[in-house]
């Protein structure tokens, strides 16, 4: 393992993030805070309880998950796409770095950024909503697993993309709708029976449900199933990255 190499990539990526802190941190935190104000404080007061939890508190895990998913994808995809775009990727490819080193550096930095954003939103939410976390360790595990998994997914996107437009397609046109329809603002038990079954094909349901369980001890899907789902997505992403480095797809000719 090239420890100095991993550290160099990690520090470089984190430095870039801190340089643009306004855009990197405050933007997602502000937009999520607006959700809390509108759906939590303003509308939430008229919504009553969902599964024994106030509506304002109910949407907290889903909104944090929404930020984690979109930020993980965009941070990780941009992190690897930008050196490909500028051509500086030559240095990474010619350095004594294994695929593990490269992925650890880029994905590690992107996951750190996502987790920082997630934690800041968690604290910010407390300013607007009264909630508590029943299983903090499970919450941290879920947060970390989701951040790492979707950063791996973002890494794949960054390799696949051949333009900035493609970087935006998956987060905006796939992940955002799946998150909104995955139970961020409602419990799937509130849906008609047919749509409940359809919703179970949405992988984001399992992520939000598992994360919500760590807060309130209740969820749409059993916690074990949620953990299994996130682990499965993680394995699929790892397999795709293994294939990318084995074939040199869009990295080496």
């Amino acid at each position: 393992m090239n420890g100095h190499g991993i550290k160099a990539i990690y520090q470089f990526e984190m430095a870039r993030w801190f340089r643009t802190l306004g855009q990197s941190l405050f933007t997602p935190v502000l937009s999520t805070a607006l959700y809390f104000i509108v759906f939590g404080s303003a509308i939430g007061g008229r919504m009553g309880e969902v599964d024994g939890v106030s509506y304002a508190a109910f949407i907290v895990p889903g909104l944090i998950m929404l930020s984690i998913l979109t930020e993980s994808l965009s941070n990780a995809s941009f992190g690897i796409y930008f050196p490909r775009f500028t051509g500086t990727i030559y240095e990474v490819l010619s350095a004594p770095l294994s695929p593990f080193d490269i992925v650890t550096g880029y994905v590690g930095a992107a996951a750190t950024k996502s987790m920082i954003i997630g934690c800041v939103i968690l604290v910010t939410a407390r300013l607007f909503v009264d909630y508590s976390v029943q299983y903090p360790l499970v919450m941290i595990l879920f947060l970390a697993l989701t951040a790492v998994t979707f950063c791996l997914f973002g890494f794949i996107l960054g390799i696949w993309a051949d333009g900035f437009e493609k970087l935006q397609i998956v987060p905006m046109l796939v992940i955002m709708p799946l998150t909104f329809l995955g139970g961020t603002f409602y419990s799937i038990s509130m849906l008609p029976e047919f749509w409940q079954k359809v919703t179970l094909f949405n992988p984001v349901v399992y992520l939000i449900s598992g994360f919500r369980w760590s807060f309130f001890g209740t969820a749409d899907v059993a916690i074990g199933v949620s953990l299994g789902a996130i682990s499965l997505i993680l394995l699929v992403c790892l397999a795709a990255i293994w294939w990318i480095f084995k074939t040199g797809y869009r990295l080496k000719t």
């Binding site: 090239n2 550290k7 430095a15 500086t88 240095e91 010619s94 004594p96 080496k252 000719t253």
Partner: protein
């Protein structure tokens, strides 16, 4: 100045049957065999698309070869890629930089990527040697083209490589900076670094290289010591500037390889610079006998450029 490669020197780079065919079917490299010796400056000459950058990219790990193997500093570039790559520094042809980064951060990143811990003294030395120390906190986008080129070299030297690849190092660089770079390359060689450069400027190879390889259409056409190459293939020419123009080469000079200039004022005699007899005394004597008077004369030896052009021409169908 070039220096001959010592006999029996262990190659620091050994290329065996390396070839590259792209998925599109384009054959970028036909099987190439080449040894590069420790401490030499090797110039790889070739026209655009000849395969120079592909060969360098394979050795540096950026392009996957279709066949063959390469060792760098005794390490296989695929099986033992970590050790092989640590020995290599690469300055690519294009100025690939992170515009918003600071100069010093970019150089530190390069050192880290190659597996080395921080060494502020070395980074300072590299930046000072390349006249970039005063610009260390500047953003890369603020640098001029020449400074960016030097930054690329600083990044490649940040991990103290034993082998340095310079892919068209002086492309688009002004004359003064080019001279500075040549000087820097010589200093690097004196410190024991092996340098492989590709160039379009034959003058560059002629000025600096110990050995020259000519690559054309993916094939290594020729490899030799620069001095030997120029001796072997270098033609010499004697030009006689006539006192009065003539319309044709006189019959009395038919036995000599002579060419008359367009305006009839100069005769050029081409001869083998390596032969024991140049034939010049006989020619001058014969000129006297037939009464052809000249006012001046000069000799020229063909340059590396002439040799290169003639070799590449031979390759063309």
């Amino acid at each position: 100045m070039s220096r001959p490669v010592p006999p029996n020197t262990q190659p620091i780079i050994s290329i065996k049957d390396i070839s590259k065919t792209y998925k599109s079917g384009v054959k970028a490299l036909k099987p190439i065999n080449l040894d590069i010796h420790k401490g030499e400056i090797f110039a790889l000459l070739g026209p655009n698309g000849a395969g120079k950058t592909t060969l360098i990219s394979i050795i540096c790990g950026i392009v996957t070869p279709s066949s063959g193997c390469v060792t760098a500093d005794g390490h296989d570039i695929i099986r033992d890629y970590r050790a092989a790559r640590r020995a290599i520094g690469l300055v690519p042809q294009e100025l690939h930089t992170d515009a918003f980064e600071r100069v010093i951060d970019s150089v530190k990143l390069s050192r880290g990527l190659f597996g080395y811990g921080p060494n502020p003294a070395h980074i300072e030395k590299v930046l000072r040697d390349l006249s970039l120390w005063d610009k260390r906190t500047a953003k890369i986008q603020e640098l001029s083209g020449g400074m960016k080129r030097r930054l690329m070299i600083a990044k490649a030297l940040s991990h103290e490589p034993k082998i340095l690849f310079l892919d068209e190092p002086t492309a688009g660089v002004d004359v003064e900076l080019r001279q500075d770079m040549w000087e820097m390359v010589r200093k690097l060689r004196e410190s024991g670094v092996t340098i492989i450069l590709t160039t379009h400027y034959i003058e560059e190879a002629e000025e600096m290289a110990d050995r020259v390889g000519v690559i054309s259409k993916g094939e290594l056409v020729l490899v030799d010591e620069k001095a030997a190459l120029m001796r072997k293939l270098g033609k010499k020419q004697l030009t006689l500037h006539l006192r009065e123009a003539i319309s044709a080469v006189p019959e009395g000079l038919n036995g000599y390889s002579l060419e008359l200039s367009g305006d009839g004022s100069a005769l050029t005699y081409t001869f083998d610079g390596q032969a024991d007899e140049s034939g010049i005394p006989d020619l001058l004597k014969r000129l006297g006998e037939i009464g052809l008077d000249f006012k001046d004369l000069n000799t020229e030896q063909s340059s590396l450029e002439d040799i290169f052009v003639s070799l590449v021409r031979e390759q063309r169908p």
